[in-house]
């Protein structure tokens, strides 16, 4: 068979918005020689954060099923009232999601426009960071309040699950705070990428949603 040499690949604008590098498509279009490819591939950070969210969701799903199974077969389950500071903490965390969203939009316009004229959006990031720290401190106060009632990690399976869930969530929030710190540092050094900012904020909002789910679960089951 005779061989011919193709034209170099060209960018086809029609494919914008699809997944990177052709996705599922066979790249040879019907009756054409030109490779339909695009330069744009999604930045790995934005895919990566969804992958991380999936894994974290699985972990908490496993713990949820453990709680349901453990409670189902347990004559020793002791119900207790959740410390009321948890509701305040919830409001703080929700507020932090709003401040982060403001920060994210300001970062976008700050980085898009002439940087000297626009006000640096780091302030809102600091507010979010502060609210996040306040949330973790609030969780710590909730643990102290339970301790004061004589409910420790090993007192009862219900208290065990309370501590496991809230500690696992708080650890993930601390991870998110680390991510926010990184964003602030990169913003200061003018090396922040849009995808890093988006991924961090997506993670933070997920922490928010996860906490609301956990609060409902603990409120219903404990």
């Amino acid at each position: 068979m005779a061989t011919t040499v193709h034209e170099p690949p060209k960018i086809d604008e029609r494919l914008k918005g699809g997944s990177g590098n052709g996705g599922w498509r066979p790249l040879v279009p019907e009756g054409g020689e030109v490779r339909l490819v695009q330069d744009y591939a999604p930045p790995p950070a934005s895919t990566g954060i969804w992958v991380a969210i999936a894994a974290i969701s699985m972990t908490f799903a496993a713990l949820t099923s453990a709680l349901i199974v453990r409670k189902g077969g347990a004559p020793d389950w002791r119900h207790f009232t959740l410390p009321s500071i948890l509701y305040l903490n919830t409001l703080i965390l929700i507020a932090s999601s709003f401040t982060l969203e403001i920060a994210r939009r300001r970062v976008a316009s700050f980085m898009g426009g002439p940087r000297t004229k626009a006000e640096s959006p780091a302030r809102w990031l600091y507010v979010t960071l502060g609210l996040g720290l306040l949330f973790v401190a609030g969780q710590y106060i909730a643990w102290r309040q339970l301790n004061a009632q004589g409910l420790y990690l090993a007192t009862n399976p219900s208290s065990s699950f309370f501590y496991v869930f809230t500690a696992a969530h708080a650890l993930h929030v601390l991870g998110g705070l680390g991510g926010l710190g990184r964003v602030i540092r990169k913003l200061g050094a003018r090396t922040l990428k849009r995808s890093t900012m988006d991924a961090t904020s997506r993670y933070w909002h997920f922490m928010d949603v996860l906490w609301i789910y956990l609060l409902l679960l603990l409120w219903m089951k404990l």
């Binding site: 591939a41 895919t47 453990r70």
Partner: protein, 596 residues
């Protein structure tokens, strides 16, 4: 023609210069892949050594093994293994092999090395996570081995660590205190390592593909690693919290897994109300996908190895991928078949039995595609293709016994016998090992720039192939004869006639194990003194054979990311380089697969 600016992702970290950054805390996926391979190599030798000790004890129960007391003064007084020490060795053998060999080598080692190259990237997107992934896994291995030397030795609860035994502490026997905590720490760390790895594998496959590399154009090995990483992400994310709960039952006095009024060794346990089945549910939700995490990369590797040796693509590239995907999805629905005898509701047994029988359909389709593609293909016989054939043989043999075990009524009879040991060793352990060997013989020239010795490779294959059948086929017979598994000695009258079979298996295990030294010699000798390898010794088409050198340069493609024009397996075509066309070749050809 090959546009160097073709891709959005360009050099995101520079080649390291210091020794530590280059060889120890390296960010390079190729070095990390080799590190994983080295870890699996050490782990498999250790795991095999443990199996030798166990086999010697099973053949000759009162045999004194010289020097054994050095490994454990309490476990082998007078060099004779105690029953408890046998169980400790069995647990460590299973744990080391399943986690640190069968998951580490075909998935983490080869995947790390070749996935970025096969998609046409210069590295994984998160190299620091990748480095952490290896070192966390390594720390897990160290924690496991440490348990031999701390307290009263490693845990004896089996690689599945069934609660409540695993959760009651030292009252449960030697190693059930500190040993279990170390085991759970080790496996928890391993989970974190593999989660980080899966994150990188998934994002590499989805986002790092080079220009023209659509998902269907990925080689089957890349697909297998991608599917495995999705399984790993969900499975390890469940086992990790289970390990945390187990540790808490030990160190914090919680009662997740220990039921009320449990009396062990005449002592009432202080825990109350825990669920005895909870651990099994959490473990097997991970455990069954884990079986596929071990075997699916092997399927991808074997397909990838066979195709250039057959000089034709598989009968259906896409059906093979769909089938591997179906295995992954179904693997989550079948885990209850490990619990048929756990006291679970019999209705649940039927519910789990059904998808267990269904999962044989994609597995059978995969096997039929292999056999149909091999038929009349004039296969090039070399060490890699022989081991690939061996993989198929082992997978079929071990898979057939799975049909029996999938049915609760039969499983109740066979569950506690050697039939199950024979089944899973064949279908998962030995098959996966053959996949590792096939991958090693195939990719060694690319990884080290040297050819392995083919004669030694073929001798290694035949000794291993015959040896594996001699070891594991009789297990089925033993199981049908009612030989109970997990026992350290067979004293019941009805098992006496079976002792000679055990002795035969032990001798076969010693010979087969010793023949692995040929592989070790071949590996080390070829690494330093082997013949220099050409860039594409197997005349293969995928991107790892388009790198400018063997081993590939730091950025894989020498500063130019490749552009992909073809499906991965264009063989039997008249091209400028012979009967094949490389993925990067801009030649115009008629597509030889079901891509369109």
């Amino acid at each position: 023609m090959h546009d160097s600016s073709a891709h959005a992702h360009v050099a995101h970290h520079a080649p390291p210069t210091s020794f530590i950054r280059k060889y120890i805390f390296s960010l390079d996926h190729k070095v990390i892949g080799k590190q994983y391979y080295g870890l699996a190599f050490i782990a498999v030798l250790f795991g095999m050594f443990l199996s030798w000790l166990m086999r010697l004890h099973l053949g000759w129960t009162n045999l004194a093994i010289p020097g054994l007391h050095l490994l454990s003064p309490n476990g082998a007084p007078g060099n004779v293994m105690t029953p408890e020490y046998y169980l400790q060795l069995m647990t460590m053998h299973g744990t080391i092999m399943v986690f640190f060999v069968l998951t580490t080598a075909p998935f983490a080692a080869f995947g790390n090395y070749f996935l970025p190259i096969q998609v046409g990237a210069e590295d994984m997107p998160f190299p620091r996570f990748n480095m952490m992934s290896f070192w966390v896994t390594f720390a897990g291995f160290v924690a496991l081995v440490l348990s031999f030397f701390i307290g009263d030795g490693p845990t004896l609860g089996g690689w599945t660590q069934y609660a409540p035994l695993s959760a009651v502490g030292s009252v449960g026997g030697p190693g059930e205190g500190t040993g279990v905590v170390l085991w759970a720490t080790s496996i928890g760390l391993f989970c974190i390592g593999q989660l980080l790895g899966s994150l990188n594998f998934i994002t590499t496959t989805l986002d790092m593909r080079t220009r023209g590399m659509s998902l269907w154009r990925l080689p089957l090995s890349a697909w297998a690693w991608f599917i495995t990483s999705v399984m790993g992400l969900t499975a390890f994310a469940v086992l990790m919290p289970a390990c945390v709960l187990l540790i808490l039952d030990h160190v914090a006095g919680t009662s997740f897994f220990v039921p009320s009024n449990l009396v062990i060794n005449d002592q009432l346990q202080p825990h109350a109300g825990g669920s005895t089945l909870l651990w099994q549910h959490l473990f097997w939700f991970f455990g069954h996908p884990e079986v596929y995490i071990a075997i699916v990369p092997g399927m991808g590797i074997v397909s990838h190895v066979l195709i250039p040796n057959m000089r034709r693509p598989m009968l259906s590239h896409r059906t093979l991928i769909y089938s591997m995907g179906a295995l992954a999805v179904l693997s989550y629905m079948v885990y209850g078949h490990h619990m048929f005898v756990s006291g679970m509701n019999p209705v649940s047994s039927i519910v789990f039995s059904f998808p267990t029988l269904i999962i044989t359909i994609p597995a059978t389709i995969i096997v039929l595609i292999w056999l149909g593609s091999l038929y009349g293909s004039r296969l090039r016989i070399n060490s890699a293709s022989l081991f690939a054939l061996g993989f198929i043989s082992m997978f079929i043999t071990g898979g057939v016994s799975g049909f029996f075990l999938a049915q609760p009524s039969l499983d109740i009879m066979l569950h506690a016998t050697y039939f199950v040991v024979g089944h899973f060793h064949m279908v998962m352990a030995v098959a996966a090992m053959f996949g590792i060997f096939a991958g090693t013989y195939f990719w060694f020239p690319k990884m080290f720039g040297k050819m392995m010795n083919e004669t030694l490779g073929k001798i290694h294959f035949w000794l291993t192939f015959v040896g594996a059948y001699c070891i594991f086929m009789p297990f089925h017979y033993l199981g049908l004869a009612g030989n109970i598994r997990r026992y350290q000695a067979f004293t019941a009258d009805y098992m006496q006639p079976l002792i000679p079979v055990h002795k035969f298996i032990t001798v076969a295990a010693l010979i087969t194990g010793a023949s692995q030294l040929i592989f070790v010699y071949n590996l080390i000798h070829s690494r330093f003194w082997g013949k220099p390898a050409p860039d594409n010794p197997w005349e293969a088409t995928s991107l790892e054979w388009s790198t400018p050198s063997s081993p590939p340069p730091f950025d894989n493609f020498g500063g130019k990311l490749p552009v992909v024009y073809h499906d991965p397996y264009q063989y039997g075509i008249e091209g400028s380089s012979g009967d094949y066309v490389m993925q990067t070749s801009p030649e115009h050809i008629e597509t030889k697969s079901d891509e369109r």
